[in-house]
């Protein structure tokens, strides 16, 4: 190996085993030959096992609790899961009442999202898909922040530019949500590469669903992350459905986890409704990604209890029994709750009073936002570029003139016209 190559390798900490399918020589240089013609048959390969610690009854058989998951932290996580669950219910209702235009819940995925968030550091930049507001909440995004975005008030830090649930939280190192699926995944890889250049000891995280995983962007991102040795966590929430498309119509292979090997990526499949397993796996994945400067793929198996969004009615394509099964027998909140109660770290009374408190806080933020004016209409012209172009300036003047004459037709009193 030349000195030049050694220097590059040393700098990048990018380990490529010499003898294995992943040797980086020209095709054929490390080939292993056979005289027996056999096609690989993935159907007869063992399924990638699902890592689980906490069973469905809330018990840990083998005592695999990491020391970093203290009782205090566990209760904090649980409370955040309850808050998320409550907030989801209230905002869903509010959409049904026509008070906000749109909402998406994370019901059934609370452990996957908050457990993974809790295992990350604040310095880890997160790219979400759209069903991960739990990450925002974990990092300190307030209920006011949520409500201001959902109501598009002038206090929304994204200036009312997007539909509800498309949060952005620079303060908490979480990138802005966009509706387009999977586009965030290669963005996360590039971000990780930049961090690597700057020697930052943090990972970049991309969340996506098993449906979005079918997009070409995910394939491109994973391949690039592996080749360019980017410390990236690919966290796939396999929740069983992409709107009405169940996993049997989404993929034929062994889920998303099986694809990792194709890219040479370290992979684990985890019980996404098991808070302990999620927390442990993400913690370990993060350490691996940093120590070896590599991507890691985690497939969190969970279930989407709610509808895809408020524009969906999932009774049209799945049975209520199926939903009830997951909601009662394999609920992430329920499983952790049972554990905590059994360990005497929580009680039904505390649950009741905390839930009441949540409701009060949520409704407080809700009512405040509902009565806060929207941003000035002229903000539609800002931030297209870093500075206003002459054409946009002309268009802004057009709107000004138009509103001077026709303003009474536009409910301008609902907007912050200053």
């Amino acid at each position: 190996m030349s000195l030049k190559v050694m220097r590059h390798l040393a700098r990048w900490n990018c380990i490529r085993p010499k003898s294995s399918a992943m040797a980086s020589g020209v095709a054929g240089s490390a080939a292993v030959y056979t005289d027996s013609l056999e096609f690989t048959n993935p159907i007869s390969m063992p399924q990638i096992p699902t890592y689980r610690v906490l069973d469905r009854h809330g018990s840990i058989k083998k005592g695999n609790v990491p020391s970093s998951l203290s009782a205090t932290l566990l209760v904090e996580i649980y409370k955040k899961m309850l808050l998320l669950s409550k907030m989801d219910k209230i905002l869903l209702q509010s959409q049904r009442q026509g008070r906000i235009s749109f909402y998406m819940t994370c019901s059934g995925e609370e452990a996957a999202v908050i457990g993974s968030a809790a295992a990350l550091q604040e310095s880890d930049t997160v790219f979400t898909q759209y069903r991960e507001v739990g990450v925002f909440l974990w990092r300190g995004f307030t209920l006011d922040d949520v409500m201001n975005q959902c109501f598009s008030t002038h206090k929304d830090n994204t200036k009312g530019r997007q539909m509800p649930i498309h949060y952005s939280a620079r303060e908490h190192n979480i990138q802005c949500v966009s509706s387009t699926l999977a586009t965030q995944v290669p963005n996360a890889v590039g971000y990780a590469y930049s961090n690597k250049l700057k020697n930052k000891k943090s990972v970049t995280v991309a969340y996506f669903g098993e449906g979005a995983a079918s997009e070409g962007d995910v394939h491109a991102a994973m391949n690039m992350a592996a080749v360019l040795c980017c410390p990236t966590l690919f966290i796939c929430r396999n929740n069983g459905y992409a709107i009405s498309t169940s996993t049997k119509d989404q993929y034929f292979g062994d889920g998303i986890a099986a694809r990792g090997a194709g890219y040479g990526i370290r992979t684990v499949r985890v019980d996404g409704n098991d808070l302990f397993a999620v927390y442990q796996a993400v913690t370990a994945a993060r350490e691996l990604a940093l120590s070896e400067s590599c991507p890691v793929l985690l497939e969190l198996m969970t279930y989407r209890v709610g509808h895809h969004s408020t524009s969906d009615d999932s009774t049209a394509y799945r049975s209520i029994d199926e939903v009830n099964y997951w909601n009662t027998r394999d609920s992430p909140v329920g499983r952790l709750g049972h554990y905590l109660v059994q360990q005497k770290l929580w009680s039904d009374e505390e649950e009741q009073s905390f839930t009441k408190e949540c409701r009060k806080e949520i409704m407080g933020a809700f009512n405040q936002a509902e009565n806060t004016p929207k941003p000035s209409p002229y903000l539609v012209f800002d931030d297209v570029y870093d500075t206003m172009t002459s054409q946009l300036g002309e268009q802004r003047r057009s709107l000004e003139e138009h509103l001077e004459e026709y303003g009474e037709n536009y409910n301008l009193d609902e907007y912050d016209m200053k």
Binding site: A169, R170, T183, S390
Partner: protein
């Protein structure tokens, strides 16, 4: 042999006098602003190389990546840059335009200057979603919490003599329709270096289309130092009083030749404007010219319908209606895919442009 290598070999066989075999035009060397100091003779790929070299030297975070950039690139634009800046900053990516552009957006979002090369503009489309839905909207949708302004996407563009459907496209019209990105096309080495440096340093995602026929055949004295040319500013390349001719890229040289023909043979004085930045474009320079001449023609290689000439024509009639003495002419590629053997009949060459000049002269 890869398409890139085939093309490279073909380009080296272009006649030394610079005549493009199929359609026939001559590159008209430009002269640099003397205030920019010492110059050296460079062709367009060399001037682009110089721009990237300077950018990467001055901005120690800047990275350059794409297919085959490590060895120098299929058009040699990145020659020597990996040796100079190392493989951490100049590197090959796997073959995936959506990945290259998606990755580039992420690099830029993290505050690192990203120069992403797409091997041919004809292949930019897998990255169209990333450009339109992510890059263009990154700042806007986040209320300016985030941006990917440090991203520049470069791609070889336009007719090359034998490129046919998939090595000749001029897709600027698709991108001009997307608020939030900038689209730039240089007409030669001097402009390529200055405009590319502006794009790299501009705080908005930019797409820089490089007329590939000009990579080797266009050579002129180019300032050796660090200089930028302003974006969103058109340049009046030749002053005139009777007809306004608007174009960008390769076609400017066709227009310059037609302007000479018009003067010598028809006694018509043409003003040639190089738009340079397609989006956001300098409408003021165009309007000022048309208000003077009353007659306008827009010329582009891209197909007629919905080409960027349509936007310019709409703008001119909106703002200069009472000054116009003839309908605005558009001389463009036909509404067909860019077909191989038909290239001489497809392109808006000097004869079709000359014909348009006559139509404008004879209208009233």
């Amino acid at each position: 042999m890869s398409c890139g290598r085939l093309l490279k070999r073909a380009l080296t066989s272009v006649k030394k006098d610079g005549i493009r075999t199929a359609a026939g035009f001559a590159y008209i060397p430009q002269t640099p602003n003397p205030a920019l100091g010492e110059t050296t003779k460079l062709n367009m790929f060399q001037s682009i190389n110089s721009a990237m070299d300077i950018a990467m030297e001055k901005d120690s975070s800047a990275v350059l990546f794409g297919e085959d950039v490590a060895f120098g690139g299929v058009f040699r634009c990145s020659l020597g840059l990996q040796d100079k800046y190392g493989s951490a900053r100049v590197f090959n990516t796997p073959l995936t335009e959506q990945g290259i552009i998606g990755f580039g957006i992420g690099v830029a979002a993290a505050g690192t200057t990203a120069i992403a090369e797409i091997q041919f503009a004809d292949y930019i489309y897998p990255g169209f979603d990333q450009i339109v839905n992510e890059a263009a909207k990154y700042r806007y949708r986040s209320g300016n919490e985030y941006n990917c302004g440090g991203l520049t996407v470069r791609a070889p563009w336009g007719a090359v003599g034998h490129g046919a459907l998939y090595h000749s496209q001029s897709p600027e019209a698709f991108f001009a329709h997307v608020p939030g990105i900038k689209v730039v096309v240089p007409r030669g080495p001097i402009q390529a270096k200055g405009l590319l440096l502006s794009c790299i340093r501009d705080q908005n995602p930019c797409i820089f289309f490089e007329p590939k026929i000009l990579y080797r055949m266009a050579a002129e004295e180019v300032p050796v130092g660090d200089y930028t040319l302003p974006l969103s500013q058109a340049e009046v390349v030749r002053q005139g009083s009777d007809i306004t001719m608007i174009g960008w890229g390769t076609v400017i040289h066709v227009l310059l030749e037609v302007a000479t023909m018009a003067e010598e043979q028809l006694g018509v004085s043409c003003e040639v404007i190089d738009l340079q930045t397609i989006m956001p474009y300098d409408s003021a320079t165009i309007e000022k010219s048309v208000q003077k001449t009353g007659k306008a023609m827009v010329v582009h290689e891209a197909p007629l319908t919905q080409g960027f000439g349509a936007e310019i024509a709409a703008r001119i009639q909106e703002s200069c209606f009472l000054h116009l003495e003839a309908p605005i002419q558009r001389v463009t590629g036909w509404d067909t895919p860019f077909a191989y053997i038909y290239e001489p009949f497809y392109l808006p060459d000097k004869w079709r442009c000359f014909e348009a000049v006559k139509k404008l002269r004879d209208f009233m």
